[in-house]
Structure formats: C-alpha cells, structure tokens
Chain length 338, copies 2
Amino acid sequence: MRATTIHAPGDIRFEEVPDPTIEQPTDAVVKVVAGCICGSDLWPYRGHNDIDAGATIGHECVGVVEEVGADVKDFRPGDFVIVPFCHSDNTCPHCLAGVQSACQNGGFTASGQGEYARVTQADGSLVKTDGMPDASMIPSLLTLSDVFPTGWHAAVSAGVRPGGTAVVIGDGAVGLFGVLAASQLGAERVIAMSRHADRQAIARTFGATDVVAERGKEGGERIAELTGGVGADAVLECVGTDEAMKTAFAVARPGSTVGFVGVPHGVELPVRRMFQKNVGLAGGVAPVRRYLPDLLERVLSNAVDPGIVFDLTLPMSESPEGYRAMDERRATKVLLQP
Amino acid sequence: MRATTIHAPGDIRFEEVPDPTIEQPTDAVVKVVAGCICGSDLWPYRGHNDIDAGATIGHECVGVVEEVGADVKDFRPGDFVIVPFCHSDNTCPHCLAGVQSACQNGGFTASGQGEYARVTQADGSLVKTDGMPDASMIPSLLTLSDVFPTGWHAAVSAGVRPGGTAVVIGDGAVGLFGVLAASQLGAERVIAMSRHADRQAIARTFGATDVVAERGKEGGERIAELTGGVGADAVLECVGTDEAMKTAFAVARPGSTVGFVGVPHGVELPVRRMFQKNVGLAGGVAPVRRYLPDLLERVLSNAVDPGIVFDLTLPMSESPEGYRAMDERRATKVLLQP
C-alpha cells in the first residue's frame, strides 16, 4: 500500500510500504476513508522527537473494516468504523477504570495517513456507525479518532462543571476542541487564548465567550481581570510547552485543576506554586474509547459540528504539503483522502 | 512572654520575646494551652529553609482566648479554641471554594510554641468547644490545628473513596493521619509504607491493613504485588522529598491521583510519566478550617483518638529537646505545655 512516512525532520513522503496484516487474532485491518494530521505529528516533523527513519506516521483515521482476526466478534468486513488512535481491549482493570489509553494490552494506530491501518484489539477499540455515513459527515466523524476526545479529556480532567469559568490555553485543533468540550460540559464562561483570527472564529463557533489574544504575563493579567482577580475554575492546557504550562498555573484559581493533554516537551512543573495554591494537575493521553459513544451521539444528532476544524483537505499523496501547511500555520487541521 | 525561637539550624531557644498584641480589629490573642512541633519545623531546623534569626517558630496550638479585636463577633475571652495554623476570613472566594489556606486575607500562627499566639481573622479561623475540655482531650484537639486535617487533606486530594486501595508514603505524624483519614473515608485497604515498629503500630491502630517496610524500587514492587499489578487507587504523599514523590507516582494506578501535603523540597515532578499514565497530582497547604467542624465532631464523639500520635510531652521550656527528639526520630510528635 501507499502511506505517509517520515524520514527526518521536515522529510515527509507518501510512498509504498508493506501492507498491514492480521498479526493477532484480535486484530482488524481497516481501509482508510479519511485520515488527518495531528498537532503531535509536528513534534517529530520539527525535530523535537526521535525519528525511526522511514516509519509510517499518522494515528487518526476512520474507515471500512477490510479484514478481521479469528477472535474479533463485533466487527466484520464492510463496517464503517471510527478508529481510536490508542487501542484497548476495554476489559482490563485500567480500561474498566476509564483509562483505555493505559490498557494492559493496548496499541496505537501506525498508518492513519496511509491506505490501510492495523487495529489491535479491534473489539475493544473500534466503534461503528449504522451503515455507511454520508460523505458530509466524514470530517466530523474523523475528529472522534483523537482530537475531539482529546480536547474533551482536557475539559474532564480540568473538572469543568456547569456554571464555571474555563480557560483554554492553545488554539490548535486540540485547544479548539477543549473550547467545544468546556462549552458542552456547561461552563458559563469559556475563555480561549488565541492570537489567530481564523482560530478565534472557530473558538467562538465552538462556544468561546471571550478571547484573549495576549500571552504570557499580559495574558495572565487579562484572565485575572476577567475573573475578578480570582482566577479560572478550570484550565485546559492544550499545547505541551513549558510556557503554556506556566500560563496555565498562573491563571488557575486556588483549588482548581489544570487539565493537560498537550504532549509535554521541556515542561518543568511549578510544584511549589501548585502546593501553595492547591492547584492540581490531571490528564494525559486521552482515553478516546471512553468518550466515543457519547461524542458520536453528539455528532450524529448534530448537537456539535466538529468537522469545521478542517480547513484544508488534500489527497493523501500530498501529505507532505499538509505537514508544511500545518507547520507554517497556514492550516489548523489537514484532512487527507486516499 | 516566653516562646520558642530559632536562631540557626539546630539552634532552638525558649526565651523572652515581645507579647503578641491585637494589631487589627479582626485579631484575637490566644493563651496557649498546648502546642506542638511539626515535621515541617524540621526543615529550617535541619538547614533546608532560610531562617530569620531569632524569629518565633511553631504554628500548631490550642488555647483560651485572652483578648479580641473590636470586630471579632463570635469569640470572647475564656473561649477554648482550636487554632488552625493558617488563618482565613472564611468569606473570600477562595475560602468559599474550600481553600481557606489560600484566603485573600489569610495569615499564619507564628508563636504556637510560645505562651501566647496572635490569630488574624479570628472569626473566620477559630473553632471553639462547648466549655473547657477535659485535660485528657487536649492532645486530640491539638492535632486538629494542623497535622490531622493535613493528613485528611492528603486523602481527600488523592480522591480516597469507599472500597478502594490507598497507599500512604511517609510514616511521620502527617502520614499516620493520612492512614487514619483514608481509613475513615472508607478505603478498604490502607497500605502504610513504614520502617519503624512504633510508627507501624500507630498506623495499624489508625486503620492500616498492610504495612510495607521496603522503600524505593522494592517498595514499589511490594505495592505492585499487593495490588495485583494494577497499582493503588489513591496515593498520599506525606513527606515532600523527591524520592517520596517518585515512589508515589510509581505505585499509583493509571487514572488515579497523588494527594500531596508534604512541603516539597527538591521535588521534580515526573511530568512525562504523569502524562503517559494519566496520574494526577492534587493537594498542597491544607485548608484546615474546611475540615475542622467534621473532624472535631469525630474527636468529640470518640470515633477517632488522634492524640495517641504524641509520644513525648515536654514543658515548653524544653522545646529545644523536643526538636532534638524529633530530629533524631526518638519521637514521632512532641507536645509542649506552657
């Protein structure tokens, strides 16, 4: 098959690689209908992560089941499925506790920007729709593979509750979904920190009541003003840098929690401040499967329209251009079609 | 008056200092009936904190109100009161959110190991008993000033719930109260990490179902065995060192929370592990006032007997010996009488 691969920082290719196959009886192989580029894919692209030269890249996709292993009971070829980027048996103690991203038998999608993807633990991971969805629904369904549940996880981890004030750090796709999640979970005030007009617009559509364009110290002062000097009831850290984390703790009110879902890079947590202010930290790799049934229902009922986050659609063969567009912030989120 | 002072690491004195006075109309001055030495007092004693040479030391006490400021409505001279080590107006947004330790108008007890102590925000801070308690109750009431609610805060912050497994790191007085709190909050299994026979005995009395004497890597392996490889549902970090924190995160199951109340010294939080395992951190300076009414009720009804943690009682004039005894681990917790 052909798939997107990474060879070095900045070196993305779309090329021939071995087909994924059923390796375990619990596996499925999915023919990708749509994949996309994640903000976290930019870490290796920008040289911040180690690279296994020539490896496939891409962990977000939806598609149609092509083949299943002998032990797969709930899916068969032809089913349209959402593929959580982290796979889970959904039966181990961690899955049962709602942390499917720490499944004792878990795995990850490795070729979501390719023509086919192998899903380990198909029964515990995949969620299917009734029949083939309308093409117009594909972008929204695709967000359920990672980015929407990840933003949701930030909000849940931050303890967003009806009536409170939530601050969202980061206006990438995950941050925008943090805004949507905080709004859906009933926050009365959702403050998006964003400097980009196009992303501010999506944030407003997703439910942001306020937008703060300032960053760092000035950003913190603006939040203090907006919250009467008290600070935010919940803070969603959706970037993963030390600066973003520091801003998060600076704007969190005592007793609140920073929910973090940005893969941490160079983050040094301010433990003294956390202690003195009683500000907690929670979150991590999103247990997508936990949130999927609820979020799928919200998508299918048109309660939300998450697909609008895709502002660039390309043929999968042009994935290198997709990476460039996201790296240069010409696109918020790039959808790839085989 | 005479009070305990610190001049340099290891240099504790009991000497004449100026009497505390009513400085603000919301103040009270309390005649100390009993004070005690806190594990956190050992940080400056051991040279790990800056010292203001000659300053009074000691933040835990109970006593009788001696004098009140003009704005104090709820207390009058003669009332027996428990003095939370951190004072709070109990009306500001942080207090109303249950984080009295971050009160916008807060303060701290500064001479709890002296004959008198000034309490700022008397109305919002103090809790009184009906009449003068029996002398036998004084030790238990004294624990309510800091150490018992602090252990309680660790358990609450860690999210201890009925039926689960809680691990308590640290067998100082705070850790022992973490054990008591976890047990009172319904944890089915309370695992105390302790190497000292006398402290293990108190831990058992306080409700520990298991004691793990191993530390570091071996300690983690023992907890893994005891939890079927899953890890603990809640972890209470009651020390404040990097080693203790690392152990806490090593034994916490994915999705759980480390509740921390040990003043952090040299702690570097394992943010990557926290992210990958979805293990959160919560806690900090205990909002004593929040828990006081409930804990006082438990003490007065004899549901708990926290006073047993005091294994050395000295005249206040011998406070230097009290520090030596705690520093050398000859005593778990030292009670001082004027």
